[in-house]
Symmetry: C2
Subunit: 334 residues, 2 copies
């Protein structure tokens, strides 16, 4: 099988690539070539694998690559929510036009690739005529309150229509907020959901920009990647429809997250987080889902992470064993 | 005010143009210029009005015109559902890319035009995970089953996001199936909803491609135009959200429509309709809404047509008094 991962040099994309390379197969078919397309070069450990071909540069310039015919595609490349609110054209280009080019190129290839689109819980939001339920479901009416969520939703619908027409075998899966992410804070308004765990574990003081009772559905990187692969491998019948499905989320409050941090890493680590409200971030987060359900993913056998403690423990274990996790990530535990 | 109507040479667009010219104002502000952009030239009676400027040609070539700054825009131009099922690229170009160009051009003009987008009841459809309710509401989750419905829905969401960002003051209104349309059958799968009334009134025998118990929400041309103007004139507060709203529809069965025809025009006229199932059309229509509600439009004071008899009577009256209705349209009544 020839597989493409867009955004494959990013945190989730590279983790997905490593997982696929380690398995060596998808749905029982051997993966002979894994193409990583990303604005940035792929990590060295991936490029060292003879099955991997890296293509760095903007997606909008990769039409010929995308037309070359893939058995499977994971489309993860995306500009993040906060960036797109500040730069509307970036969002149009990176999230809407790039996805469209990818879909049309695959259609032009004549190969109806199995196609997983990484959508987002950010498609949901409250509109005046459409208040958000306590928990968003697979069939909650999305009324996104960011350009990021709007473009993700538009591509969900394109994926469904290209699938209906037989141009791709598409599946859109809505990622919950992924935590704990390694590295530095990024432009996503959700960045603090990782920061309030990652920074204190590294020994750094940090602030939480929202109130402790803010609730949100989250997922570990490992569980998220497992979800994407499971959705890829599912039969169309098992998917139960062409529409996007919610990946599993663990519904937690910020206060629960910090209590779990104290349980796993002790009160000194927990004490490195102070609350300091940031109106811009808090305003965006106020429009986000407070929780989610995931009946269709559940029917595929997917489950939420067992607890937030387990999510933190996955991060600690990753820091000790995986590439892309800095050596000083756990300095705060010493 | 400088007003733009895309699709302004079409049946609904030209009727809207005539209505606006006759009123002379929108929201109490005088209409000084009415620009009609359409693939085809506008009707002569419109071009004869000194306030009208016609621009014929593909929307994708009218970027400069769209950037020239409008106080108000009615975006009606569209390729119809049946055509888009047969020609996927036509749908992408005419319904998605053209609408995108229009939105981006208005954004570039720096003038946050009041913007009415004519969406469609075709955004609704049943997906395996999302059966359609008996009546689709303003907040029913759309899962369109045609490319036409998909592209209309995508633009609804773009209109909401461009409005949120302040680039336009947008309103998307979902038109119900408009009947009775004059002229010849067109490529829309819904064409027969007009044909089964129009052809027998003209003295022509015709077939109905679906079963008599097929039910659907319909609206007269007059009531549809009244709805579009009301949505244009409404305050943002009155609209109750940025999402699309359903325009009023009268929920009728095909058998009710034919009973009304017999009541208005007699059994000889009614007898000119025979049932002859067309699997292609019936298959598309099976995925359509059986009925609708329109709470938000109702809150703006809009109502459905009083009865299907009233809709037929509007058509008969229009044939006698309006341009674009052929002289022989009522030959069957003689």
């Amino acid at each position: 099988m020839r597989i493409l991962i867009t955004g494959g040099a990013g945190f989730l994309g590279a983790r997905l690539a490593r997982e696929i390379l380690q398995r060596g197969q998808l749905n029982g078919q051997s993966v002979s070539e894994l193409v990583i397309a990303d604005l940035f070069p792929a990590p060295a450990d991936l490029l060292a694998d003879p099955r991997v071909k890296g293509h760095a540069g903007p997606m909008l310039e990769q039409g010929d690559l995308f037309k070359s015919g893939f058995d499977g595609v994971f489309h993860l490349a995306s500009a993040v929510s906060g960036e797109c609110e500040l730069d509307f054209d970036l969002g149009l280009r990176s999230n809407l036009d790039s996805s469209r080019l990818l879909l049309d190129s695959i259609r032009a290839s004549g190969k109806a690739s199995r196609f997983v689109f990484a959508s987002s819980v950010a498609v949901f939001g409250p509109d005046a005529g459409n208040p958000m339920p306590e928990r968003v479901t697979d069939t909650t009416l999305p009324t996104p309150q960011t350009s990021y969520g709007t473009h993700k939703l538009m591509i969900e619908y394109m994926v469904a229509d290209y699938t209906r027409k037989g141009f791709i075998d598409g599946r859109a899966a809505r990622l919950m907020t992924v935590t704990v992410r390694p590295g530095k804070p990024n432009g996503a308004a959700s960045s603090f959901f990782s920061g309030i765990i990652r920074e204190p574990l590294a020994g750094t003081h940090t602030t939480c920009p929202v109130d402790p009772d803010v609730s949100h559905p989250v997922s570990s990187p490992g569980n998220t990647i497992h979800g994407l692969i499971t959705v890829f491998e599912a039969s169309r019948d098992a998917l139960g429809g062409r529409m996007a499905l919610n990946l599993p989320g663990l519904n937690v409050k910020v206060s629960d997250m910090l209590a779990a941090l104290e349980k796993v890493a002790g009160p000194t680590v927990r004490a490195r987080v102070k609350f300091e409200r940031d109106e811009r971030v808090a305003g965006i987060v106020a429009n986000w889902a407070k929780g989610s359900t995931f009946d269709r993913a559940n029917a595929l056998g997917l489950k939420a992470d067992a607890s937030f403690e387990a999510i933190i423990e996955q991060y600690i274990s990753d820091c000790k064993t995986r590439p892309a996790y800095p050596a000083e990530a756990l300095n705060g535990l010493k």
